[in-house]
Symmetry: C2
Subunit: 123 residues, 2 copies
């Protein structure tokens, strides 16, 4: 039986607005002990992703501002029914550590990280 | 044949001094596209770990200073010969995403992350 993303993803995903400050994004990551925040518009549609790596980049560059100033806009995503091998291959190819899980309307329904996948090897 | 850590780890690990600034740690993470830095003393012995999550925490708290002010000191580690399932279980139990690989003298010989393990599922 092929394992699919919905069996390992975190749902619902914790998301953030593009208008939020970088400090606010950092606070949400720390309070929830996570590293990735899908960025969504008022309709809940995915428009970017911001991670603790992006916050480190802002620190390295002495940059302040909003999430929309530092987020990645071309987001690599997955779906609930995608086989885990495919999701893992996408992360490997793009050297990224999480994929927002979206539905057919581009709404965020969850998130899967390399930490979620590595737990499958801990059996 | 049981897969062991040395077959998937990155080596040598990029490390940092406890005296370095938080900005310097951020710069090293960004230049190398990584999220974890083992902290070592002048003799190369492991004394802590600092990650992009710790930098996000410093931003959330408006903290400035040195790596030694924000690093985690009780480091969970692995060895080159440890089976991958054990390393994955350690990361799951402690909710962490990387393990410095140390030798018998507590010198850092590499690092393995949940990204390295998730790539094994991408076959
Ligand atoms: C290229 S990775 C390099 C560091 C490390 N591999 C990691 O994933 O954190 C860091 C960048 O990837 C971006 N990123 C993370 N997840 C992404 C996704 N699903 N789609 C597009 N970019 C993503 C982040 O916004 C960040 O700018
Ligand atoms: C508890 S995790 C929570 C967030 C997420 N699971 C991650 O790993 O980034 C974040 C904290 O774990 C610490 N950490 C990372 N790797 C570690 C390791 N091998 N041993 C001890 N602490 C570690 C970091 O210093 C950071 O303070």
């Amino acid at each position: 039986e092929i394992k699919v993303v919905k069996s390992v993803m975190s749902s619902p995903a914790i998301t953030i607005s593009p208008e939020a400050s970088i400090e606010e994004a950092a606070r949400i990551l720390i309070e929830n002990e996570i590293n990735h925040l899908p960025v969504v518009n008022e309709r809940g549609e995915l428009i970017g992703i911001v991670t603790s790596w992006d916050i480190a980049k802002a620190v390295a560059r002495g940059k302040i501002g909003k999430v929309e100033d530092i987020m990645t806009r071309k987001v690599i995503t997955t779906t609930m029914e995608e086989p885990i091998e495919i999701a893992a291959r996408k992360m490997e190819q793009h050297e990224i550590s999480a994929l927002p899980v979206v539905d057919k309307d581009n709404k965020v329904v969850g998130i899967v990280s390399s930490e979620d996948l590595s737990k499958l090897l801990a059996r």
